[in-house]
Amino acid sequence: MFTSFKRIIKWGLTNFWRNGWLSTATVSIMTLTLLVITVLLMLNVVANVVLANLQNKIDISVYFKLETHEEEILQVKSQLERLEEVKDVSYVSQNEALIRFKEKHQDNPVLLQSLEELEFNPLEASLNIKARQANQYASINQFLESVYYKDLIDKVNYMQNKDIIEKLNKIVVDVKTGGLGLSALLALIVFLVTFNSIRLAIYSSREEINVMKLVGASKWFIRGPFFVEGVLYGLVATIVTILILYPLFYFLSPKISGFLPIGDVFSYFKVNLLSFFLLLLGIGVILGGFSTMIAVRKYLKE
């Protein structure tokens, strides 16, 4: 049993080495597959970061009538925080609103002067609300419009921002589903290409498989070395892929970070190098092994 196992490994390695050109071609195709898969993964990561960034920029503000007491506002705040859809609520008091207003318009002396001339603070206190999902703002707005709060609230800027929020919402959903669909399609295509190139490699060995059968080799003894070869395709392709990606991300990373609101792609790659390696290795080895098994099975049938 152990001897057979050793022989299967030995022949797998020997065949991989002796079929130099065939192995090179198959490994190249598999490397391309793994590269495409990595790029798709990275694109998904980048897209998610960009979308999360955009979503973070959306919020709605509730402005309270001037005569509303702070305790009442804080009560509304704590009630809002209890809602499942709400991620974060921040309170901006009248004073704070005034400070922010002054800061924002410090280059506009006319505006500041006219503010000075007023004897009271005309700015309303407000609550800034961030939802967990972009599509939840409508229900938060509904909650605020309920009868109980009507007397306290001056206005909710949801209606003004409604169109933008909904449009962004649609973009987020479209990009996510579209990206996923496109990735799945591309992944399927590269899988099929690899599968077929391995099948062709085995096709060239069909006579050999027949001869092995005739000299009395068991099915496993015939299949084994091909399986080892398939796994080797995956292993070598993974190593080659990582060797290509490492310098690629190193040089491209500064350029990508320049126009996208994300951190360093290279350092992300470096931190996750082991996971990337294991993931690609898993895909490569399973794809290689699986494809050879299916291809050999056809010629093993009597």
């Binding site: 001869v211 092995m212 003894f221």
Partner: protein, 226 residues
């Protein structure tokens, strides 16, 4: 002991490759099966190897019906029958030594046995100095001798040769035939399928003649008459 009892083989379209063939071969016999191309020689051998089942009749080897051999037992059964072919059927990516050793490895034999037996076989087929050559580096006759060496490695009871000289020049042909005779003298049943008139007439051993799938003649010290 090999027995063919009323064996027929039909291919799709009602084309009969062999029809109602009956004969038996005793242990240690040297039998030639002759006939023109398409007479059914190769089909006969394929049925014996259980590469395909007969449509009718039964084939017994040492009293056992070949039909009843399960696919798991098939490798074991085939090791008892050494086979050589017109096109040699060597593994192109393995050297002469490895081609012979592979058959032993496939049978799960120990490394010591392999390193002992393979050189012996190589010297029997006179290929010691070509042990590390790949098939593409060997002549036709040398390739056939590797194939014979491989067929003999399990010390089979039966050696089947399907047109072994079909691709060889007369000189190499006689090399191979002499080798087969020697193997037969050492106690192995040899079945030789050929359409080479000269070989058959010179051998003066038992000849079974086939024509369009039927046995038309079966004689000791036979000659090629079709």
């Amino acid at each position: 002991m090999i027995e063919f009892k009323n064996v027929s083989k039909y291919y799709p379209g009602d084309c009969a490759a062999i029809k109602d063939v009956t004969f038996s071969i005793r242990p240690k016999e040297f039998v030639s099966i002759v006939g023109r191309s398409g007479a059914g020689k190769t089909t006969l051998l394929r049925l014996l190897l259980k590469e395909e089942p007969p449509s009718e009749g039964e084939i017994l080897v040492d009293g056992r019906n070949v039909k009843n051999i399960k696919s798991k037992e098939l490798p074991l059964y085939r090791r008892k029958i050494g086979t050589i072919f017109q096109d040699f059927k060597l593994l192109p990516n393995k050297t002469a030594y490895e081609n012979i050793a592979f058959a032993m490895e496939a049978a799960g034999r120990a490394e010591e046995d392999i390193s002992e037996d393979v050189p012996q076989i190589l010297s029997l087929v006179e290929l010691v100095d070509k042990a590390d050559n790949f098939p593409c580096q060997l002549s036709g006759g040398e390739k056939q001798r590797v194939a014979i060496g491989r067929a003999l490695i399990h010390k089979p009871d039966i050696l089947m040769a399907d047109e072994p000289s079909g691709n060889l020049d007369p000189l190499h042909t006689w090399d191979i035939i002499r080798l087969l005779c020697r193997i037969n003298e050492l106690g192995t049943t040899v079945i030789l399928a050929t359409h080479d008139r000269e070989i058959i007439n010179a051998l003066s051993k038992r000849v079974i003649s086939l024509d369009r799938g039927r046995v038309i003649r079966d004689e000791e010290n036979g000659r090629y008459i079709v």
